[in-house]
């Protein structure tokens, strides 16, 4: 590896291994990580826990009443929100609102926060859809895995703004995957960094791996199924979004290594790929509405 890149890689890791520099995931989200759906959780307890953060509470109520969920009834309290949306969805929502807090306030964030948020949310939804299609079961919520897969980019943009954006530009120009160009220019990549950040939050190994390896699934990894789900969710979401991601254009999904691994691991023979893509379009539409309506609250 070129000396310049070696040096840069060292700098990145030095910065990364200093806990002070890492984004802080709101404590509530971290606490919720260990709330599982099977555990008998008192709704009142959970509502009390969440209500300690008034702005989060307000956001939850607002989004619960929006077209994103299109609930039949108005939600007037946290407890109602928990009952109507269910524990899993409340967790998903809290994580979504938490990811917004990871954006550094002071430095100029070069890429489009709104687009980043939308991509993260929809990748999460797509991961859920794929989990259902393949009839899989994960300890970690696939939504959360999809939601957090690109958090490494936030770190890179904040501390290595110039180099990271050079890599982004070159990837576009040369028609290559960002992941590959990062390896060439930075000596590391947003997936590894994201995984390291998730580790610093003491997240489950399954989730760390899903973030770390979403661009290079390896069947020897014991968490390979969630890794593949996030990998495919990312690619499919990119293919339905506005901006061009040339490396994947012209894709036959059955050629994807991650897809092949998932197929080998399940008994399903027939897949309605078109339907999955149309559902992703719906999710993009829904998240568009919510993010655009709430961007003043969020950012």
């Amino acid at each position: 590896m070129e000396e310049k890149v070696q040096l840069l890689k060292q700098n990145i890791f030095t910065k990364l291994y200093n806990l002070k520099n890492l984004p802080v995931m709101p404590g509530l989200a971290i606490e919720l990580m260990s709330y599982t759906i099977d555990e008998e959780t008192s709704i009142k307890e959970l509502a009390n826990l969440i209500s300690k953060d008034p702005s989060l509470t307000a956001q939850i109520l607002k989004v619960s009443n929006s077209a994103f969920y299109a609930l039949k009834r108005k939600v007037g309290s946290l407890e109602q929100a928990i009952i109507l949306l269910g524990l899993r969805e409340i967790k998903n929502l809290i994580f979504t609102l938490s990811i917004i807090k990871l954006f550094p306030k002071k430095t100029k964030f070069s890429f489009d926060k709104i687009a980043f948020l939308k991509h993260s949310v929809v990748t999460g939804r797509t991961a859920e859809i794929l989990t259902k299609v393949f009839k899989l079961n994960f300890q970690t919520s696939p939504f959360i895995a999809g939601l957090l897969h690109d958090i490494g980019k936030i770190f890179l943009d904040q501390y290595f703004h110039y180099e990271f954006n050079l890599a982004v530009e070159r990837a576009k120009q040369d028609n290559k995957n960002l992941f590959e160009v990062e390896a060439e220019e930075l000596g590391t990549d947003h997936a590894y960094i994201g995984g390291y950040i998730a580790k610093s939050w003491n997240f489950p190994e399954e989730l760390i791996d899903a973030i770390n390896f979403h661009h290079c699934p390896d069947e020897k990894n014991k968490n390979i199924l969630l890794i593949c789900v996030v990998s495919i969710a990312d690619i499919l979401t990119n293919l339905r979004e506005e901006w061009l991601t040339f490396p994947h254009s012209g894709l036959n999904i059955f050629d994807l290594k991650a897809w092949k691994i998932l197929v080998e691991n399940c008994l399903i023979k027939d897949f309605d790929i078109e339907r999955i893509l149309f559902e992703i379009d719906d999710e993009l539409e829904k998240s568009d509405e919510v993010v655009n309506n709430f961007k003043n609250d969020f950012f």
């Binding site: 299109a70 039949k72 499919l236 293919l239 339905r240 979004e241 506005e242 061009l244 991601t245 994947h248 254009s249 012209g250 894709l251 036959n252 999904i253 309605d272 790929i273 078109e274 339907r275 893509l277 149309f278 379009d281 719906d282 539409e285 829904k286």
Partner: protein, 305 residues
């Protein structure tokens, strides 16, 4: 009894998201077209109208009717006509044309250059009033023009030769009256609502306050012909095509007719040729002969050989 009816008349009936999903899934399974949530409002009014007309009180009753009633086929046709509003316009669903000119054409042209066959044939099946074939003509004309000029300037990218290439577009429809309109080539602002104004000024002549006529340069590659997709005699006269566009046409056919048409398409496509359907249409469950290829915001089917 009287009071009940009155009450129902005054309530504004809307379809819940759940009912919409039932209806949407039924339509998707029945005819391979997926209605996105954003289209819910389109369906809502019409479905309620039909329910009132048929004296049905719930959406699930209506779906039951669509599935089991002896008059279900008629009703499905009526529903389609109501909900598939005439969507045709120039550059309708632009991502498909972007993918065509930025990815698919390069592939086909380079293959043609290698084989020494410099003729591109495109079929707009179900061309309606002509917006689609003329759009294709604009896209193809621009593609070849820009590549020829690049080559002539000496910037021969990829060592491809774009000179001496020909292309033609066959545009067919079952209705002569609609073909006549297409041949006339005059359009109003509505047809041009999804078109870049620069293209409008370059490719059309404004012949009156609100009317635009397609320029001759874009007519010469397009040939209109009356054709029934289910008529073997009509089909037997056709050549092979590199690309077929058949958007929002198959939805009107029942399963057997769909299979028959798709079979014909497969046979009429050259090896590694492409088929474009409507952006919410799916071949899933109908035929697995074609390979699904995913481009940016466009699903395209390929006769992969």
């Amino acid at each position: 009894m009287y009071i009940e009816i009155e009450k129902t008349k005054n309530e504004k009936r809307i379809i819940t998201d759940e009912e919409f999903c039932f209806l949407r899934d039924f339509i998707y399974d029945k005819c391979g077209i997926y209605f996105r949530i954003e289209k819910k409002y389109l369906i809502e009014d019409k479905v309620i109208e039909r329910m009132a007309h048929l004296n049905l009180r719930s959406v699930s009753d209506y779906i039951y009717y669509l599935k089991y009633n002896e008059k279900k086929d008629q009703e499905i046709t009526v529903l389609y006509d109501y909900i598939t509003i005439n969507e045709t316009s120039f550059f309708r669903n632009e991502p498909q044309f972007t993918v065509l000119k930025e990815e698919i054409l390069d592939e086909i042209i380079s293959r043609g250059n290698n084989l020494g066959l410099k003729y591109l044939k495109v079929w707009s099946a179900g061309c309606s009033s002509g917006e689609e074939p003329y759009t294709l003509s604009i896209v193809l004309n621009d593609y070849f023009e820009s590549l020829k000029s690049t080559e002539n300037k000496g910037n021969n990218k990829n060592n491809q030769s774009y000179n001496n290439w020909y292309f033609d577009i066959l545009a067919t429809d079952i209705s002569q009256s609609v073909l006549n309109k297409a041949i006339k080539g005059v359009y109003g602002e509505y047809s041009l609502r999804t078109t870049d104004p620069k293209i409008i000024s370059r490719c059309f002549n404004k012949i009156s306050e609100k009317e635009y006529e397609i320029k001759n340069q874009y007519r010469q590659n397009v040939k209109f012909k009356k054709l029934n997709l289910l008529d073997n005699n009509d089909l037997s006269l056709l050549p092979s095509f590199d690309i077929i566009f058949c958007r929002n046409v198959l939805i009107y056919f029942d399963l057997n007719a769909k299979k028959k048409v798709l079979d014909s398409f497969y046979n009429l496509l050259k090896p590694n040729g492409y088929l474009f359907l409507g952006h919410s249409e799916s071949l899933h469950g109908i035929t697995s002969a074609f390979k699904l290829v995913l481009f940016q915001k466009a699903l395209v089917y390929k006769k992969e050989v």
